[in-house]
């Protein structure tokens, strides 16, 4: 019973927080707020905006199994091939595999996902320009979460800078 009472208090606090921040959250995202989902105990908050740009957790987006499909705007998401921790570089302090603005070739390593101490390389599946890096270094990612976006060569009319 003590546990439940604790839950109730925590619930109250979280609810109060949601009420206070809902408006701010609404403006923070790329589109109107769609859902706020809160769960108590050690706490998980899940905020969703409607029609947000594909960000890995959107069911409609994640529905396309397998990474590397072209988005509407000529960009393609590189998604996590497994659940684990995403690293942008080979080891702490080392330079990242890729940066925004880099051009990558099919098969080029763009990151690492560590699961159970095993370092699994994340490879680009097509030629493209790194337009955005979504997952932070050291962030936990789920299967098919978006890690980064590549701008596609043909879609952008071949204007990639050749660095």
């Amino acid at each position: 019973m003590t546990a439940d009472t604790r839950h109730a208090d925590e619930g109250e606090q979280v609810l109060a927080w949601v009420v206070r921040h809902a408006a701010q959250l609404g403006q923070a995202g790329p589109a109107p707020l769609r859902r706020i989902r809160v769960s108590t105990a050690t706490l998980a908050v899940d905020v969703e905006w409607s029609q947000a740009r594909p960000a890995g957790r959107d069911p409609a987006e994640a529905g396309q199994e397998g990474a590397g499909e072209a988005g509407a705007e000529g960009v393609v998401a590189v998604t996590a091939p497994m659940v684990g921790t995403f690293y942008r570089s080979r080891e702490p302090g080392a330079p990242p595999f890729v940066q925004v603005g880099d051009v990558v070739e099919p098969g080029q390593q763009v990151g690492i996902i560590e699961a159970m101490k095993l370092m699994n390389p994340v490879l680009a599946e097509c030629h493209g320009l790194v337009s955005e890096i979504v997952a932070a270094d050291g962030a936990p990612v789920q299967y098919e979460d978006t890690l980064l976006f590549l701008g596609l060569d043909d879609a952008s009319g071949g204007v990639f800078p050749r660095l």
Partner: protein, 451 residues
């Protein structure tokens, strides 16, 4: 008690485990494949983590994905449900190495009891009655010699087999060599382990199993026996407790034997010892299931004990809250497995999309299901859609109740077939009704249409 439990399973059992966790105030994280992202378990979980694609090999059977999900979500324990990694000694070891409590027996116990060959050796050492045969993994010559010694029919079983897969019955000595080779090949393909052994096969037997619960302090109780003789392709269709038409003394004896053996094995958690009962009432040990069983609801209904709750308590190091004499058994419970399969085509699993789904309800009727309108049944997973378990003071009333519940159940959609009508036929079958059936009932029914 654990703060957070990761549920590394899907379907009805993920929901089942989740419910008890919530009731105990334990946070739930559901690990799911892409195919299950809209499941009821995911919807009801405190948190969910997508661990891989639909193919089990890369999701529910992938230890790295599950451990990563547990670490990522701060889970301190993992509930494996049944199937998938629930009886993998290797996975249990990995969890132990990562400081995660796998809810189930210790890896060493799984290693010993999960392998059929070593389980048979253990049973011999624990003085459990076993069927005549050779428990050593053996070659074709030794196998044929054993078969000849115990007398035909015999069954060739894969050491790593389970769930009715990797076994072959031989009636004629002339067929032995080929069957032996085929089973070995199959065992290698299915389990990555070609070891097989040979045992006497009983044609007219009943399948009876004893549920045990053990804590880490040496306390072991049994929760009675279940009869699971109604099987198709060696997979259970209808289970009930207590086993009907079996003398109380036999069941009591089985219970005592099992508790003694579980204690000898250092068992911890919920587990099931399976036996066959021959036509003379003699019991023979077959195997141990080191996990929660699909059919656990019938035991819950006659004992009032929530088995998942006990699993969590024991895994968290607590002592069992009751002794053998505190366990009381009341009435009869029957469970029917509703599968997406076509009995007319040899119980072939039938993929499809469920459009209408109206489960039964009412007094003493429990439905464990992840079914819902829109559910896509695919070949990736077990065809089980729902378990309908009922309770009543007497077996006749329980069968009538089960029949009524199945009649109420509406499942339909493009491509969807179920065994609902067949289950009702079994319930109405005179052999079953008068509890004169054996494990060959379904075969008998398929070969002689009822009139």
């Amino acid at each position: 008690m654990f703060t957070t439990v990761l549920i590394a399973n899907r379907g009805e059992i993920a929901l089942r485990v989740l419910r008890t966790c919530r009731e105990m105030g334990v946070r739930t994280v559901v690990a799911h494949s892409t195919a299950d992202r809209d499941s009821a378990a995911v919807r009801l979980a405190d948190e969910s983590i997508q661990i891989g694609p639909a193919a089990p090999k890369h999701s529910y059977l992938n230890p790295a994905a599950i451990v990563a999900a547990a670490v990522q979500s701060g889970a301190d324990a993992i509930h494996p449900g049944y199937g998938f990694l629930s009886e993998s000694a290797e996975f249990a070891e990995i969890c132990e190495a990562h400081g995660l409590t796998l809810i189930g027996p210790p890896s060493a116990v799984i290693a010993r009891l999960g392998d059929k060959v070593s389980a048979r050796e253990f049973a011999l050492s624990a003085k459990l009655p076993v069927l005549p045969g050779g428990s050593e993994p053996m070659g074709p010559v030794e196998g044929a010699r054993t078969a000849h010694a115990v007398g035909y029919p015999v069954v060739i079983k894969a050491a790593a087999g389970g769930g009715g897969r990797g076994m072959r019955v031989v009636h004629d000595p002339g067929d032995f060599a080929r069957a032996f080779a085929t089973t070995r090949r199959e065992a290698l393909t299915l389990f990555g382990d070609p070891r097989v052994y040979v045992e006497k096969y009983l044609d007219a037997a009943r399948h009876v199993e004893v549920q045990v619960l053990a804590d880490g302090h040496g306390n072991v109780v049994h929760l009675g026996a279940r009869d699971c003789s109604v099987q198709r392709r060696r997979q259970k269709l209808i289970e009930e407790t207590p086993p009907p038409n079996v003398p109380a003394a036999t069941l009591e004896h089985l219970g005592e034997l099992t508790v003694r053996a579980a204690r000898a094995a250092g068992y911890v958690g919920a587990g099931t010892f399976e036996y066959v009962l021959d036509e003379h009432g003699a019991c023979h040990f077959i195997e141990v299931n080191c996990r929660l069983q699909v059919e656990h609801p019938v035991t819950e209904m006659v004992t009032g004990i929530d088995l998942v709750r006990e699993q969590l308590l024991v895994a968290a190091g607590q002592r069992l809250g009751f002794r053998q004499e505190d366990v009381t058994f009341s009435g009869v419970s029957v469970e029917c497995r509703v599968n997406a399969e076509d009995p007319a085509r040899g119980f072939l699993p039938t993929p499809g999309v469920i459009e209408t789904f109206v489960p039964p309800g009412g007094p003493f009727t429990r439905v464990d299901t992840h079914g819902a309108p829109g559910l896509r049944v695919t070949a990736d997973y077990d065809p089980l859609i729902a378990k309908v378990a009922v309770w009543a003071p007497s077996r006749a009333q329980a069968l009538a109740r089960a029949h009524r519940a199945l009649e109420e159940f509406t499942i339909s959609g493009p491509g969807v077939h179920t065994d609902l009508a067949f289950l009702r036929e079994v319930l109405a079958h005179p052999l079953f009704r008068y509890a004169k059936h054996t494990t060959s009932l379904v075969e008998q029914m398929m070969s002689t249409p009822m009139t």
